[in-house]
Subunit: 112 residues, 2 copies
DNA sequence: TCTTTATATAGCAAGATGGTTATATAAAGG
DNA sequence: CCTTTATATAACCATCTTGCTATATAAAGA
């Protein structure tokens, strides 16, 4: 579950969420992204690296610039996981059932 | 944006997601949650504290036990944020504004 | 009361994170 | 060429995270 790890932890930082919000308006270069934040360019570069690593943004090369944009497909896995969780929550809420159903707990790996 | 910070970073940990997945089956005590993981009880207690802080679980008191269960309302804010992001992504994708830039395949990049 | 059970807290070490400044690289433009 | 512009990388530092063990607390049970 490395993907969910990196995706959720990428989203855990407010600066990175703000960067994504900015990219929701359209493509932007590193300097354009850095400007609104009171933060050095290297710091923004590293945030972008994290976002790219999480598959949340993609970049192209345009001369010396590296414009970033959102990577739509990345949200899918997150959504899927949250959907399952939300369903489970609704189910528990509806049934008001605090009884343990069957517990399926293998070795070290976990899956919803 | 503290709520989103704590919620997303709570979800960033695989153990905590596994705990939520377990709670999706129904209420469970700390020891019940600790058992499937090869992890000490204090470690699990602290994970639960994080999840509670993020509003993702709630606990009641039952003698010496503190059974946990999912807190359905917590997912709302996360969903809301992700929805806005997803919409923006879809919008960008529809407009194909990146194609307007130009057609280029520079270096090894990722694209569906 | 004394012991057991369930959970929480304290204190520590290793590693991750997020910021900084200084420097490297690489394309663009004179 | 040399300089500027755009971005990346390195080195450093402070803080947070996550695991551990040992201990505290509090209810239950003998």
């Amino acid at each position: 579950m490395k993907n969910l790890d990196t995706a959720f932890s990428a989203l855990a930082d407010p600066t990175r969420r703000a960067i994504l919000a900015r990219l929701a308006l359209g493509e932007a270069t590193v300097m354009e992204l850095a400007e609104p934040f009171e933060m050095s360019q290297p710091a923004v570069s590293r945030h972008l690296k994290v976002l790219e690593g999480a598959g949340l943004i993609i970049r192209r090369v345009d001369g010396t610039k590296r414009p970033c944009r959102l990577a739509p497909e990345a949200v899918g896995e997150i959504d899927q996981w949250l959907n399952r969780l939300r369903e489970a929550m609704a189910r528990n809420y509806d049934r008001l059932d605090r009884v343990l159903a069957e517990i399926e707990k293998p070795t070290g790996d976990q899956q919803p």
